[in-house]
């Protein structure tokens, strides 16, 4: 298979609305307990976008650049193997040009600092992202001001933003199933997905915004390769 075909058969296409997983200006979250696969999920959102020609800024709080590079390399290789991709190395080299990783110490991170960095390299024409991934942000204790800042950033820069968030077993849920720490932030999000380990891999359920489809197109993560499948 050649790489362009990969995007047309990607499971993400089942849950898209108007040809986009998340429109520019949109804000979405992936929630799960620690260690289930949030990073694997958002990295695949990024890889899918990169293949389709979008520029991705991956912001990680706490992890090193090397570790994130590994995540990308590993998941792309699994994907290439799974679909028998031709000349995957060349393709990978090309699409890598559309990725930019930034890491921050958790304490030093704030949305205004990030916005300053973005305007810095957009201004200099170094990199102009259309998708922003923020991995490792803390949403405990109802961070609704932070969610508002994120939504504003998405709209002012025409970015689609994906964030990851930790949920805890003891969290209570609202009627939609949104865990208590996110309830006050939820209105700012256009979509919220949750990952849950189950018998047939890790199930992806929609708590808000998205429709994850009928039973035969329902998304799940294969626990062996961490690839998103339906």
């Amino acid at each position: 298979m050649i790489i362009q075909n990969l995007t047309t058969i990607h499971p993400f296409r089942h849950i898209e609305k108007n040809g986009a997983l998340l429109p520019p200006g949109g804000l979405a979250a992936v929630l799960s307990p620690a260690g289930v696969g949030k990073t694997a999920f958002v990295v695949q959102v990024a890889i899918d976008a990169m293949i389709r020609g979008e520029y991705v800024l991956h912001v990680s709080l706490g992890d090193s650049i090397d570790k994130i590079t590994l995540w990308y390399g590993e998941l792309f290789q699994n994907l290439a193997r799974h679909h028998d991709l031709e000349q995957s190395e060349d393709a990978w080299r090309d699409i890598l040009l559309r990725r930019f990783i930034m890491t921050f110490k958790v304490a030093a991170f704030s949305i205004p600092v990030l916005e300053e960095r973005i305007s810095d390299f957009v201004g200099q024409n170094i990199f102009k992202p259309s998708l922003l991934i923020i991995d490792g942000l803390n949403f405990d204790n109802n961070q609704s001001p932070r969610a508002r800042e994120l939504k504003d950033l998405a709209e002012s820069r025409k970015l689609s933003i994906w964030v990851t968030g930790n949920v805890h077993r003891e969290d209570t849920r609202d009627p939609d199933g949104v865990p208590s720490p996110f309830v006050s932030s939820a209105p700012f999000f256009d979509g919220i997905l949750e990952l849950e380990p189950g018998d047939s891999g890790i199930a992806v359920t929609a708590l808000r915004g998205f429709t994850v489809g009928t039973d035969d197109t329902r998304l799940r993560l294969d626990p062996a390769t961490m690839l998103i499948q339906s």
Binding site: S64, I65, I68, T69, R93, L96, L97, F100, I101, M102, T103, F104, K105, A108, F109, V113, R117, D120, F121, G123, Q124, N125, I126, F127
Partner: protein, 695 residues
């Protein structure tokens, strides 16, 4: 000579440039009474520190060559290998690391863990060298040893624990608190030679207790006895604690941190105690050699002085008395008059003069046994050679040597310099495997090749100073390569009939890309279409074409040639005819095989204050760089990028000027990658111009 191998320490002192490593070494030699006066690297007295034996190093304040020096402390024999601090000399660093049992990682308490420290640390990890850290320059303003300890943990992944804490800081820095012995140590006397041991001031007792608790807790993982003592709330003896820390250090699970200021003569003696108490001796380390009689299967060497000799030549130096070869003995005892074999050449030789080095002075010795480092006189060998007893046939693992990525032409200005130049080149290529030289057949120029701009610059300087060779250099050239991207067939007949014996040969087959090898030749001819005696001539013909690609005149790599048909003539065919036919065939197929140019891509890591992050990224971006990422660390920021070497000339100057001198960068070879179309066209135009100029 005493021979208690458990009281031997072969250590390296490795660090970022300017963190004060050479000063520290100098102080260590002073306290061990090897030298009787102290000098500083950029000393006003013009003598310079003892370890920097080369004039050039003195001038630039950097250490290039790794001199091995010997000293004694508290009944221990310590060999110190002074390792270079600049990234362009990493082969020197790596070769030194090979012979070390342990190392001291020197860090500046202001600058902390910088990009160069990371490179050096990674190399040490590769050779699995146990380390202790020394945080230097505590007297400088802005010193913060605990921030450096945090960086050791976060940037280098060390489990760093403080063995000491400072007594006062910056200009008020007086001495250190020893967390093992629970004493305050001050340093007095003109050269800090008197250690005054005192009780810990009550005012800082609570901090001291907290830090000691951290240390004891980290150490307890490596000793059940210690854990038990903690649980039973018993008294923890110094020996018990040190033994646990040592166990952790040897497993490379813990990095004890010492601190002080070498320049102010504070904290050096406790560091020496730490080296002897915590770092491994030769017996604590296992070394494998490769058995050449048994498909290079690894053989464990034993530091037993009675066994057959195995020794490694890790460094050559040209002294006033001829070639000096630094060796480390891994097994057996090497004595004057012993007959040894150089495993690489198979030549036997007899050990003549044997010495132990102290930078520029030497001491004659009669024998050198396993675990020791010394030097031989008058042995013809290259760096990295293994010497063994005649009955052994093992080789120390070959060290990884990268291909050179940059070259420049060098021309002597007169005939006297010509002689000096060839002497110098002969010496340098033996000393440093990454430095290569050859004569370009077409231009008759001497070309030198190496790992970076500075690498070559330093050798050119050394030619001028040490060998008095007056040389001019051409502009640096990047080592481009050509390769093919698809299969192409050839069927070429070489025919010449111009009176006398004619020439006739036909070869047919195809070229295709080969990932693994530079050149592969496969003969698939059946039925004798080309007689067997002409096959080598065909191979030679193809191989010759690789030196210079028909398109851009860069070396061609990654080509597999398969011949499967041909024709010969009973009278007119000759070796020459088939060579010519192969050359013609190659030219014919090469253009059809989609030739492309590859260029060396470097991994560039820029470390800059955050306010210059944008500027630094801009610079990398202008240079066709692909920015992989940026790591924000509060005050400083680390940018990682992949940039073509061709664009990196003069980068250090530009970077410095646009960041007020506050940013620095390291660069190492990453891989070869195809050049973009526009650049390929420029290169092609240059090649055409060169061709025209040559005609």
């Amino acid at each position: 000579m005493a021979k208690n191998i458990d009281r031997v320490r072969n250590i390296g002192i490795s660090a970022h440039i300017d963190s004060g490593k050479t000063t520290l070494t100098e102080r260590m030699l002073f306290y061990t009474k090897r030298i009787h006066a102290m000098h500083d690297v950029k000393g006003k007295d013009g003598i310079g520190a003892t370890m920097d034996s080369m004039e050039l190093e003195r001038e630039r304040g950097i250490t290039i060559a790794s001199a091995a020096t010997f000293c004694e402390w508290d009944g221990f024999e310590i060999n110190i290998i002074d390792t270079p601090g600049h990234v362009d000399f990493t082969v020197e660093v790596e070769r030194s690391l090979r012979v070390l049992d342990g190392a001291v990682l020197v860090l500046c308490s202001v600058g902390g863990v910088q990009s160069q420290s990371i490179t050096v640390d990674q190399q040490m990890k590769r050779y699995r060298v146990p380390r202790i850290a020394f945080i230097n320059k505590l007297d400088r303003s802005g010193a913060n040893p605990f921030r450096v300890i945090d960086q050791l943990r976060s940037k280098l992944g060390h489990n760093a624990v403080a063995m000491q804490i400072p007594l006062g800081l910056e200009s008020a820095f007086e001495g250190i608190i020893d967390l093992v012995g629970m004493k305050a140590i001050r340093f007095e006397g003109a050269n800090g030679e008197n250690m005054l041991v005192d009780d810990i001031p009550q005012s800082i007792m609570s901090e001291v207790s907290a830090r000691r608790e951290e240390l004891v807790e980290a150490a307890s993982l490596f000793s059940d006895e210690l854990t038990e003592a903690i649980l039973n709330e018993e008294y923890i003896s110094e020996d018990l604690l040190l033994a646990a820390i040592r166990a952790g250090t040897l497993q490379r699970e813990i990095t004890p941190v010492f601190m002080g200021s070498a320049y102010k003569n504070k904290g050096v003696q406790p560091l020496l105690n730490g080296i002897t108490a915590l770092l491994p001796g030769p017996r604590d380390i296992t070394t494998d050699a490769l058995d050449r009689d048994n498909a290079e299967a690894p053989v464990r060497l034993e530091s037993d002085p009675e066994k057959p000799v195995v020794a490694l030549a890790f460094k050559l130096e040209d002294g006033p008395y001829g070639q000096l070869t630094y060796i480390r003995v891994y097994q057996g005892t090497l004595a004057k008059g012993t007959t040894l074999v150089n495993v690489r050449t198979g030549k036997k030789f007899k050990v003549g003069r044997l010495v132990r080095m102290h930078a520029d002075q030497m001491e004659d010795i009669d024998e050198l046994s396993a675990g020791y480092i010394g030097a031989l006189f008058g042995i013809d060998c290259a760096s990295g050679d293994t010497f063994t007893s005649p009955e052994m046939n093992v080789s120390m693992t070959s060290m990884y040597v990268p291909n050179p990525v940059i070259s420049l032409s060098i021309t002597p200005s007169d005939s006297r310099s010509q002689v000096a130049l060839s002497k110098a080149l002969n010496r340098f290529t033996k000393e440093d495997p990454t430095f290569k030289t050859y004569v370009d057949e077409e231009t008759n120029e001497t070309i030198i090749e190496g790992m970076g701009e500075l690498h070559l610059e330093v050798y050119v300087e050394r030619m001028r100073r040490e060998y008095n060779a007056d040389v001019d250099t051409g502009p640096p050239r990047v080592a481009y390569r050509e390769t093919i991207t698809r299969r192409a067939d050839f069927n070429y007949t070489h025919r010449k009939q111009t009176g006398g014996a004619g020439q006739y040969g036909r070869v047919a087959g195809y070229l295709e890309p080969a990932q693994e090898a530079d050149f592969e030749f496969i003969n698939e001819i059946t039925g004798g279409a080309i007689p067997t005696q002409f096959i080598p001539a065909c191979e030679k013909g193809f191989h010759e074409c690789l030196k210079k690609g028909p398109k851009m005149e860069f070396p061609v790599t990654g080509v597999r040639v398969v011949i499967n048909d041909g024709q010969s003539h009973s009278v007119d065919s000759s070796e020459m005819a088939f060579q010519a036919a192969a050359r013609g065939a190659f030219r014919e197929a090469y253009v059809k095989a989609g030739p492309v140019i590859h260029e060396p891509i470097m991994k560039v890591v820029v470390e800059t204050p955050t306010e210059f992050q944008g500027a630094a990224m801009g610079l990398l971006n202008q240079r066709r760089g692909m920015i992989v990422g940026a790591q924000d660390e509060g005050v400083m920021c680390v940018i990682e990028a992949q940039v073509p070497l061709a664009e990196m000339f003069g980068f250090s100057t530009v970077l410095r000027s646009s960041t007020q001198g506050q940013a620095q960068f390291t660069m190492e070879f990453l891989h070869y990658r195809q050049v973009p179309q526009s650049i390929a066209e420029t290169l092609a135009a240059e090649a055409t111009k060169r061709k025209k100029a040559a005609v």
